[in-house]
C-alpha cells in the first residue's frame, strides 16, 4: 500500500486539564473519503484542526504527505478547509472569494480568471461571480466555500460539518453532490459530522469517535454490521443489546447467559480480542435481523410480549418487551403475519447476524444514548 496522505501517530490533545483527543492513531489513504463521526464534543473537530494546523497536538505527530507538519503554519500546508459556517469574506463578491487563494499566491490574472470560471462551473454557479455573498442562499454559500477551497488544488480537503446549516432536502442533495465531486476530482476528503446517516451515505471509511477516542475505523458496512463497541452499536443505527456472561463454548458457538435466558453468538463475530467462558459480553443484533414468531423456534429464543406496532412507510417497527423489562426493536418489511400488540412471541436471529462485544467499562449504554441525543 502507498504511504498514507495524512497520518496521525499517538496524538494527544489537552486543553488545560481537559483531555479532548486521546491516543489518536489514524492513517488516511490518498483519494479516500474518510468521515470522523461522533457526538458533539467528542474531539472530531479538534482532530480536523490538527490536520489543518489551527491546533497543535500536545503530543504525537501529524504527517501530511509523509512530512511532519508540526512546524508548518496553516498557510503553508497543502490542505484546505471548508468551514462550518462557510466563513466567506463578506467584503468580497463570489468571484473574489474563490480567487482569494490564488491571488495571495500571486498567480497571474489570466490564470486566476480561467480557474475561477472552471470552479464556478464545477459547483454549478456559472454567472454568479459578481454576486455579493449576502445575496447568496445557504446552499449557494456552501458551494462557494467548496469552490474557494478546491481552487487551491489541495491534497486533502477538510470539511467541518459543512452541511450542518442546510435543511434536510438540500442536505441530502449536497451529500450526493459532494460524493460525486470527490470521486471526480480524486481528492482526499476528511469530513466531520455528527450525522450517522450522512457518514454512511458518503464515506469510504468512517472513524467513530467518542470522548476523544477513536472507537472504530472501517467501511460503513463494517461499522454497521460489525460494531466493535457498545458505543458504536448504539450510535450507528439502531441496535438491540443483550448483556450477559459466556457460559459455554462449543464449535465456535458461544452460549451467553442473560437475565432473559440463554442466547447464542459466533466466537468469530467477537469484535475486540478474544473471549473465553465467564467473560461478560453483550450480544448486538440489528432490529432488521431479529426474527419474530409466535411459535418457539428451534435452537435458542427469547420470550417477549409485543408492545407496539408502528407503520413507518417502508417498514413496520415493532417494540417487544422482554422479561427483564428491556425493550427490543424489530424492523420488518413484510407486514402480512406480524403479531399484534399484546401477543406473546419468541425472538431469535441467525448466528451470523449477531456480534459479540466484550464488556468495557468506560462507555455504558446510557452515556451512548445520551450522547446520541445530544449529537
Amino acid at each position: 500500500m502507498a504511504q498514507p496522505i495524512v497520518s496521525m501517530t499517538n496524538v494527544e490533545k489537552w486543553y488545560g486539564s481537559n483531555h479532548v483527543v486521546k491516543n489518536c492513531n489514524l492513517n488516511i489513504e490518498e483519494g479516500e473519503f474518510l468521515t470522523l463521526l461522533g457526538p458533539s464534543g467528542c474531539g472530531k473537530t479538534t482532530t480536523l484542526r490538527m490536520i489543518s494546523g489551527f491546533e497543535l497536538p500536545s503530543e504525537g505527530m501529524v504527517k501530511v504527505e509523509g512530512e511532519n507538519v508540526e512546524k508548518k503554519e496553516p498557510y503553508d500546508r497543502s490542505v484546505n478547509t471548508v468551514f462550518q459556517n462557510y466563513a466567506l469574506f463578506p467584503n468580497m463578491n463570489v468571484y473574489d472569494n474563490i480567487a482569494y487563494g490564488l491571488k495571495v499566491k500571486k498567480v497571474p490574472k489570466a490564470e486566476i480568471k480561467e480557474r475561477v470560471t472552471q470552479m464556478l462551473k464545477l459547483v454549478q454557479l456559472e454567472g454568479f461571480g459578481k454576486r455579493r455573498i449576502t445575496q447568496m442562499s445557504g446552499g449557494q454559500k456552501q458551494r462557494v466555500a467548496i469552490a474557494r477551497a478546491l481552487i487551491n488544488r489541495p491534497k486533502v480537503l477538510l470539511l467541518d460539518e459543512p452541511l450542518g446549516a442546510l435543511d434536510m432536502k438540500l442536505r441530502k442533495q449536497m451529500q450526493i453532490e459532494l460524493k460525486r465531486l470527490q470521486r471526480k476530482l480524486e481528492i482526499t476528503f476528511v469530513y466531520v459530522t455528527h450525522d450517522q446517516e450522512e457518514a454512511l451515505t458518503m464515506s469510504d471509511r468512517i472513524a467513530v469517535m467518542s470522548a476523544g477516542v477513536i472507537e472504530q475505523i472501517g467501511t460503513p458496512k463494517e461499522i454497521y454490521l460489525k460494531p466493535r463497541t457498545r458505543f458504536v452499536a448504539n450510535f450507528i443505527g439502531e441496535s438491540d443489546l443483550f448483556d450477559g456472561i459466556i457460559t459455554a463454548e462449543s464449535d465456535g458457538v458461544l452460549s451467553i447467559g442473560t437475565e432473559v435466558g440463554t442466547v447464542k453468538g459466533l466466537k468469530e463475530n467477537t469484535t475486540i480480542g478474544s473471549v473465553k467462558v465467564n467473560d461478560p459480553v453483550s450480544v448486538c443484533v440489528r432490529p432488521e435481523h431479529v426474527k419474530i414468531s409466535t411459535e418457539k423456534p428451534e435452537g435458542f429464543s427469547v420470550q417477549a410480549v409485543v408492545k407496539d406496532k408502528i407503520f413507518v412507510g417502508n417498514l413496520i417497527k415493532e417494540i417487544a418487551v422482554i422479561n427483564n423489562g428491556n425493550e427490543i426493536k424489530i424492523n420488518s418489511i413484510n407486514a402480512a403475519d406480524l403479531p399484534e400488540p399484546g401477543s406473546h412471541v419468541y425472538l431469535s436471529w441467525d448466528l451470523k447476524d449477531a456480534v459479540v462485544i466484550p464488556e468495557r467499562s468506560e462507555i455504558t449504554l446510557d452515556t451512548a444514548d445520551k450522547l446520541k441525543e445530544v449529537g
Binding site: F54, P74, Y75, N80, N91, N152
Partner: protein, 314 residues
C-alpha cells in the same frame, strides 16, 4: 395595533363573530389613540428639549451668520454674505487650513495608536478588557484643565522630559516641546484616544475569527490576512474612530489655548474669539455654520460607506 385587529377580522367567518371582530377593531382604534397620546406624552419632554436647545439655537446661529456687524459688537439686522466671504481671506483661511492639518495629524496618530490597542484588547480576557477600558476612561473624568496643565509641566523647558534628557546628557539645551503644533497634537491625541479606541475595539471584537482562519487556510500569511480581511472588515470601526477624533478636534480650543501658547490658532479658537474678544457674533456664527457643514459632510460620507450612526453614539 391595527395589525392585530385586521387579523381578528379575517380569522372569524360567521356573522356573530364578525361583530365581535368589529368590536375588537373599535377597541383597537381606541387603544391606538391612547397609544398615540401616551407616545406624545412620553416623547414630549425630549421634543421640547430638542426644540429649545438644539433646533432654535441652530436656526438663530444660521440667521445670525447672515447679519451685519455693527459698531462695538452690535448686530445690525441687515442681510449680508460678507461673513462667509471673509472666511476666504488669507488670515482666516489659514486658520481653517491649519485646523484641518492638525486635526488630520491627530486623527492619524490616534488611529495608529488606537487600532493596535483595540486589537490587543480583543485578544485579552473580557475582564482584563474591562479594566483597560476603565483605565482609559479615567482621565476623561478629570477636568481637561488639570490634564493639560500636567502636559505643560511635562513638556516645558524645565519640565520632566527636558530635565530627564539633559540629566542623562542626551541634549545640552532644552528642546522646544511646548507651545507649538507638536504639543497641540500630542494633547489632542491624548484627549481623543479613548473615544477612538472603543469603536475600533468593538469592530475588531465582532470580527468572526473563522474568517481569519479561512484566510490563513487559503495560503495568506498574517500580514496579507490583516490587509485583505481584518482591515477591510473593521473599517467601519476605524472610520467611526476617525470621525470621533476629527470632528471634536477641529472645534476644540482648550488644547490650543493651553499647549499652543497663542502661537497656533484653530477654528475653535477663532470662533471663541469672535464671540468674546472681537465681539463679532455674525462672523463667529458664519464660522460655526461652516464648521458644522464640514462635520455633517463627514457623517454623510461615513453613513454612505456603510457606517452605523449608533456606533458613533456609543
Amino acid at each position: 395595533m391595527s395589525d392585530i385587529s385586521v387579523k381578528a377580522q379575517t380569522v372569524v367567518p360567521d356573522a356573530k363573530k364578525v361583530t365581535a371582530g368589529e368590536k375588537k377593531v373599535k377597541h383597537g382604534r381606541k387603544q391606538s389613540i391612547r397609544a398615540t397620546i401616551s407616545n406624545i406624552i412620553m416623547c414630549g419632554p425630549m421634543t421640547i428639549w430638542s426644540v429649545l436647545f438644539i433646533l432654535i439655537p441652530v436656526v438663530m446661529l444660521v440667521f445670525m451668520s447672515f447679519m451685519t456687524k455693527g459698531l462695538l459688537g452690535k448686530i445690525v439686522y441687515k442681510f449680508t454674505l460678507v461673513n462667509y466671504t471673509d472666511i476666504f481671506k488669507p488670515v482666516y483661511f489659514n486658520v481653517v487650513k491649519e485646523s484641518l492639518i492638525i486635526a488630520l495629524w491627530t486623527t492619524l496618530l490616534t488611529v495608529l495608536l488606537g487600532y493596535p490597542l483595540g486589537m490587543v484588547m480583543s485578544k485579552l480576557k473580557k475582564k482584563t478588557t474591562g479594566v483597560i477600558t476603565i483605565l482609559m476612561m479615567l482621565p476623561l473624568w478629570v477636568s481637561g484643565l488639570v490634564i493639560l496643565y500636567s502636559f505643560v509641566i511635562m513638556l516645558n523647558n524645565s519640565g520632566t522630559i527636558n530635565s530627564f534628557l539633559m540629566n542623562i546628557g542626551l541634549i545640552k539645551k532644552p528642546l522646544q516641546l511646548l507651545y507649538n503644533n507638536f504639543s497641540v497634537t500630542i494633547g489632542m491625541v491624548y484627549m481623543f484616544l479613548p473615544f477612538a479606541v472603543l469603536p475600533m475595539y468593538s469592530s475588531i471584537e465582532k470580527l468572526d475569527p473563522s474568517l481569519i482562519e479561512a484566510s490563513k487556510d487559503l495560503g495568506a500569511n498574517p500580514v496579507t490576512t490583516f490587509f485583505k480581511v481584518t482591515l477591510p472588515l473593521t473599517s467601519p470601526g476605524i472610520f467611526a474612530g476617525v470621525i470621533l477624533t476629527f470632528i471634536p478636534c477641529i472645534g476644540y480650543y482648550m488644547v490650543t489655548d493651553m499647549l499652543g501658547g497663542g502661537t497656533s490658532m484653530l477654528v475653535g479658537n477663532l470662533i471663541y474669539r469672535q464671540f468674546t474678544i472681537s465681539r463679532n457674533w455674525p462672523f463667529g456664527a458664519a464660522l460655526s455654520v461652516v464648521l458644522s457643514l464640514i462635520i455633517l459632510l463627514m457623517v454623510v460620507i461615513y453613513t454612505k460607506l456603510g457606517g452605523d450612526l449608533d456606533d458613533l453614539a456609543s
